[in-house]
């Protein structure tokens, strides 16, 4: 049985009347890249802050490295690295000095620290920017600096709270490669993000939370198998009468059809050769179309099916 790095049991956190975490449970095993997903306000950051003992909570238990986590457990904190959602660096210090400052909170020996700082700089690819102040860095470079500050001391558990927000694709790729490498080097990683493709790409285990609860969990494939949607058939088509849309909705295994912006989206639950049923229908009704293809459900489909499609920021 793999060693449990983080155990959260029946965690309850209330902000006055609002229940941010409602008997939330989570277990993270050593060596995992653990994806924590959820809509805005679902409780991801609150969970992380509770794990880090930054937040008081009303009920429940949190263990990190098998020990009860408390604010004064400096021995546990020493093994944790955190990459904040907001960039947490000093404007007055340059790249090297910033990393050295935060690494210095963990590593006392100067020589070791120097080596660690250089490793971190190399790791995030900031070798050419060591003398740059944060204000001179682009958004992507700044995010990379933020990551370097969080991981320079080579922690065993790294918590990354949306580290790729507002980052260009090149920097994002670099960051994701880095996370995979950190994991290969033995670090356990908790990763939160709104980018499903990122989570699908790097996470070995995914937990979806909503309204402070654990609503689904497993590997990416397990989660995909757990939902109703098994196949999406997409048809690019210029014109389609409502009666045809309605008729397609009644085909075998089809449970949802939407036609908008010259695109027909057909969601299927179970069954095989769903695409051929749709092609047959078009042929029988002499309907011309541009392109038709089939896709397996993505993590995004899993996420939307589990958490719904309503806008969370607008909910009271």
């Amino acid at each position: 049985m793999a060693e449990k790095i983080v155990e959260v049991k029946n965690l309850v956190k209330r902000y006055k009347e609002l229940i941010a975490l409602d008997n939330f449970n989570m277990e993270i095993e050593k060596g995992e890249v653990f994806g924590l997903l959820g809509p805005n306000g679902s409780g991801k950051t609150t969970t992380i802050n509770c794990i880090l003992s930054l937040l008081n909570y009303n009920n429940g238990e949190i263990k990190v490295f098998g020990e009860k986590m408390k604010n004064d457990r400096y021995d546990i904190k020493k093994k944790i690295g955190i990459v904040m959602q907001n960039v947490a660096v000093f404007d007055e210090l340059n790249v090297y000095e910033n990393i050295d400052y935060f690494c210095g909170l963990y590593i006392q020996d100067k020589q070791t620290r120097k080596q660690y700082v250089e490793d971190a700089i190399k790791f995030v690819g900031l070798e050419n920017f060591t003398k740059f102040k944060p204000k001179k860095l682009s958004g992507g470079l700044l995010r990379r600096l933020n990551i370097a500050c969080g991981i320079a001391h080579k922690p065993e558990l790294i918590i990354m709270d949306e580290p790729t927000v507002a980052v260009d694709p090149q920097s994002r790729n670099k960051i994701l490669e880095g996370i995979t490498e950190l994991n290969k080097n033995g670090a356990t990683i908790i990763y939160t993000s709104h980018y499903m493709e990122e989570v699908e790409q790097i996470c070995t285990h995914i937990l979806i939370m909503d309204k402070g609860k654990n609503v689904a969990e497993g590997t990416s494939d397990e989660l995909k198998r757990s939902i109703k949607n098994t196949e999406n058939v997409i048809v690019d088509i210029k014109k389609l009468d409502d009666r045809h849309v309605e008729a397609i909705g009644k085909l075998n295994h089809v449970y949802d059809v939407k036609y908008m912006s010259d695109r027909l989206m057909i969601k299927c639950a179970g069954g095989r050769h769903n695409i051929s049923h749709v092609i047959d229908y078009f042929a029988q009704n002499s309907i011309d179309y541009d392109r038709i293809y089939s896709e397996l459900p993505t993590l995004n489909d899993v996420f939307l099916e589990i958490t719904g499609t309503s806008l969370r920021d607008q909910e009271a």
């Binding site: 930054l54 904190k77 947490a88 000093f90 210095g104």
Partner: protein, 384 residues
């Protein structure tokens, strides 16, 4: 860990450009401006005696003789220029001339008791000098009377001492002696600089509290105790601000050649203590609540500016007016307390009154530090 963190905090402090501007460049610029403005007023004044009407409200020949001797004997630094250009007039004539400021700057009335009083038409440099003359004369007279009554054997010594002392009144200069009325502006400027130090220490709380900044959150998840951040932050902030304040003070003393009076090392030590008051104030405010640092900066700037205004930054006589009407304000106003420390050192030397001010400054700093520590020791937060 302490030294490692302190070194880095010092680096942060010395690189904080906005803070260095407000605590070094601003006082240097404003001090230079004060020097240019008041220096020229004083220079103009020094070139010509202050036109003064003297009205005798007594026929006592001894009083008349003594007063005339005193007033006519006052001279400027070099002794060749009279301090007062005196006209002996009836009150009605003097009053008419007083309304035309060019002709008479003030009326000194001599009572039967020998006491002097002053009527002025408007406040200004000249009326301040006249007021000093009147106050000093009355204090001397009172001292002589008291000595004559209680210790007549010491009367000769007292009179000799007073004769020496009265020359001070005439020897005032912005860059020469230590009783210049404009010095109040420089005291207030030093107070303001010391209190602006609070803008630096304000960041200590911000950088060590998880609910105030991302950097604070990162500090809180590290294996370093919050007290360590607070302690190194406070010490570094104090070192930076003291160095900066001393540089501003040395600039005034040695470049502008402002004579603050008293021992130079003690003046520098007083500045270091003033810096402690400012840094402690910022440390306290920085640890209050979780509201945005910009709001806290606003509070500190308001406290500093209002405090310094009340201590005479904008109107030199303000502190005296408050002392007369509501003295408690001066006791509670950190700017007035700091300003008073420099004033006491200058006027009375490192005596009892100076010591009281120093104790008060240490006390107020201790209170701020303790409150800051109590507020900053929070372990976990309800909201981050």
């Amino acid at each position: 860990m302490f030294m490692n963190l302190l070194g880095k905090q010092l680096k942060l402090g010395f690189r904080d450009k906005s803070n260095i501007f407000w605590t070094l460049m601003f006082p240097v610029l404003l001090g230079t401006l004060f020097y240019i403005a008041f220096g020229s007023i004083y220079d103009t004044f020094l070139q010509e005696p202050v036109k003064t009407a003297v009205v005798f409200e007594t026929d006592n020949p001894e009083v008349i003789s003594n007063t005339k001797s005193f007033l006519e004997g006052l001279s400027l630094n070099d002794g060749s220029t009279k301090l007062l250009d005196i006209s002996y007039l009836e009150y009605s004539e003097a009053e008419a001339l007083l309304k035309d400021d060019e002709k008479v700057n003030g009326i000194i009335k001599v009572a039967d008791t020998g006491r002097l009083s002053l009527d002025i038409y408007s406040n200004g440099v000249r009326s301040t000098i006249q007021q000093n003359v009147v106050t000093s004369y009355n204090q001397s007279l009172e001292l002589i009377e008291r000595t004559a009554k209680d210790h007549p054997e010491n009367l000769a010594d007292v009179i000799a001492g007073l004769q020496k002392d009265t020359s001070h009144i005439a020897a005032k200069s912005l860059v020469g002696d230590n009783k210049d009325p404009f010095l109040t502006y420089f005291y207030s400027l030093l107070s303001m600089t010391a209190l602006f130090a609070s803008l630096s220490s304000l960041k200590i709380g911000n950088r060590s509290q998880a609910n105030m900044s991302a950097v604070g959150a990162r500090a809180n998840v590290s294996p370093v105790r919050r007290m360590m951040f607070q302690a190194t932050g406070f010490v570094s902030s104090y070192i930076v601000q003291t160095v900066v304040l001393e540089i501003a003070l040395l600039y005034m003393m040695f470049v502008l050649k402002i004579n603050f009076g008293g021992d130079k090392p003690l003046i520098l030590a007083t500045a270091a203590l003033a810096s402690l008051v400012g840094v402690s104030l910022g440390f306290f405010i920085g640890n209050i609540g979780s509201f945005r640092i910009e709001k806290k900066e606003g509070i500190l700037v308001a406290v500093t500016l209002v405090g310094c205004s009340l201590s005479g930054l904008m109107y030199g006589d303000m502190k005296a007016i408050i002392t007369e009407h509501c003295p408690i304000v001066n006791k509670l106003n950190p700017a007035a307390v700091i300003s008073d420390a420099f004033y006491c050192l200058n006027m009375f030397g490192p005596g009892e009154r100076y010591l009281q001010t120093v104790i008060f400054m240490l006390g107020i700093s201790s209170v701020f530090i303790i409150l800051g520590l109590v507020l900053g020791r929070k372990v976990s937060y309800d909201s981050v």
